[in-house]
């Protein structure tokens, strides 16, 4: 297979497989936050702040995969 094809394939696989983990992770964070909110609606402020922080952490791994995919297509 030629390099161009391999590069496209690699970029697609990288982003696709790299988004599985963070997708599940963000869903789990949302689950925890919603359960905590259901138990204690008064603690809405701290729960939401920490949820946003944890979502950004989990999202960052998907962003690393995106960066690798973009570098594969446009730079390498």
């Amino acid at each position: 297979m030629e390099t161009e094809t391999m590069r496209m394939l690699a970029a697609g696989l990288c982003m696709g497989l790299g988004a599985i983990g963070p997708g599940i992770g963000v869903g789990l964070v949302g689950l925890g936050a919603l359960q905590a909110l259901g138990r204690n609606p008064e603690a809405r402020g701290p729960i939401m702040t920490n949820m946003i922080l944890a979502i950004a952490f989990a999202e960052a791994v998907a962003i690393y995969a995106l960066v690798v995919a973009v570098v594969l297509i446009f730079v390498a």
């Binding site: 922080l53 999202e59 960052a60 690393y64």
Partner: protein, 320 residues
């Protein structure tokens, strides 16, 4: 009979806006890449078609100043500095006890950040960390939101080598700016850790050889069983200390790529949506970009704050 309306506007206005939106949707579907793959080449005038976007990751230099190449992202960073200083000057040069509207807006933002700092870091440390954390937050958010203004990427200029480049480009999309912010954050965290705990006590978190040598001493004194188990714990302590040091360094990389990836990914997404269906498809993604800019600024500032709080906590304290 009261005038019935929809969404606060009278019916003719709503109908007019819907017709305009429908027309824009039809034009965009026809003239974008989606249209040309369905209907073939329709021969639309050149001002309706969108060329395939060329995405360039390194920022292009616009001119040279004393031998330094000035890239378009630096120009945008200067622009956001000018906007931030301008807003601050306009609000504070005639500051009133009963605030005007712009002053209340800025007071809301500053007070929100101050509450966040004090909530996370405690009263004294919160005020000490507040300036840098808020500066990082405001700078990142201004960089991110300025690049969403209409017409931002359309100003073209020919640089010294004769190429036509964009004059302005979002400063967070050049990897050097997030790297610079991450380095500032790293130095800030280490400085406050060393200043609060004392140099040697802070380094003990990473070079955790106390338990190891203590158990060696126990072995030499003849207490074999306690010595051996302490030796094992000491070895684990040393290993964990090295991992902590490594994670401090990796934090720089993680900060950089989180901000850079989010911003560049968002910009590429909007470019691709503009290419597919020019007028209409990019609108939801503009909203997403607004939200992502805000969240990334909060995350960068908030994480700096959290790491600084962990760094000034004494070694025996609970490390989250």
């Amino acid at each position: 009979m009261p005038k019935k309306g929809c969404l606060g506007c009278s019916f003719p206005v709503v109908i007019g806006v819907s017709i305009v939106l429908l027309a824009l949707t039809v034009i965009s579907l026809l003239s974008g890449a989606l249209g040309s793959s369905f209907f073939g080449d329709l021969g639309l005038p050149s001002w309706l078609t969108v060329p395939k976007p060329t995405i360039q990751l390194p920022a292009e230099t616009v001119f040279h100043l004393f031998g330094f190449p000035i890239t378009n992202s630096i120009i945008t960073a200067w622009l956001s500095i000018i906007v931030l200083v301008g807003i601050a000057y306009a609000v504070t040069h005639r500051i009133k006890l009963i605030p005007s509207r712009l002053q209340s807006l800025l007071e809301f933002a500053i007070e929100w950040m101050l509450n966040l700092c004090v909530d996370v870091a405690g009263e004294k440390n919160g005020r000490r960390f507040f300036p840098i954390v808020t500066t990082i937050f405001l700078f990142v958010i201004m960089n991110a939101w300025l690049s969403l203004l209409p017409g931002f990427g359309s100003i073209l200029i020919t640089n010294a080598e004769g190429e036509t480049v964009h004059l302005l480009r979002g400063a967070n999309t050049d990897i050097n700016m997030p790297l610079a912010l991450a380095l500032i954050s790293f130095v800030f965290v280490e400085y406050h850790g060393i200043r609060s705990l004392g140099g040697w006590h802070y380094m003990k978190k990473f070079v955790n050889v106390g338990q190891f040598f203590r158990s060696l001493g126990q072995l030499f004194r003849g207490k074999l069983k306690a010595g051996l188990s302490g030796l094992f714990t000491g070895a684990i302590d040393i290993f964990v200390g090295m991992l902590e040091a490594l994670s401090e360094i990796v934090r720089i990389v993680s900060f950089t790529f989180r901000l850079f990836g989010n911003m560049t990914g968002g910009e590429i997404l909007i470019l691709m949506m503009l290419f597919l269906a020019p007028w209409v498809l990019a609108l939801p993604f503009y909203g997403l970009e607004l939200l992502v800019g805000l969240v990334q600024a909060i995350v960068f500032g908030g994480l700096t704050l959290v790491f600084a709080t962990v760094a000034v906590t004494p070694h025996g304290g609970e490390i989250a």
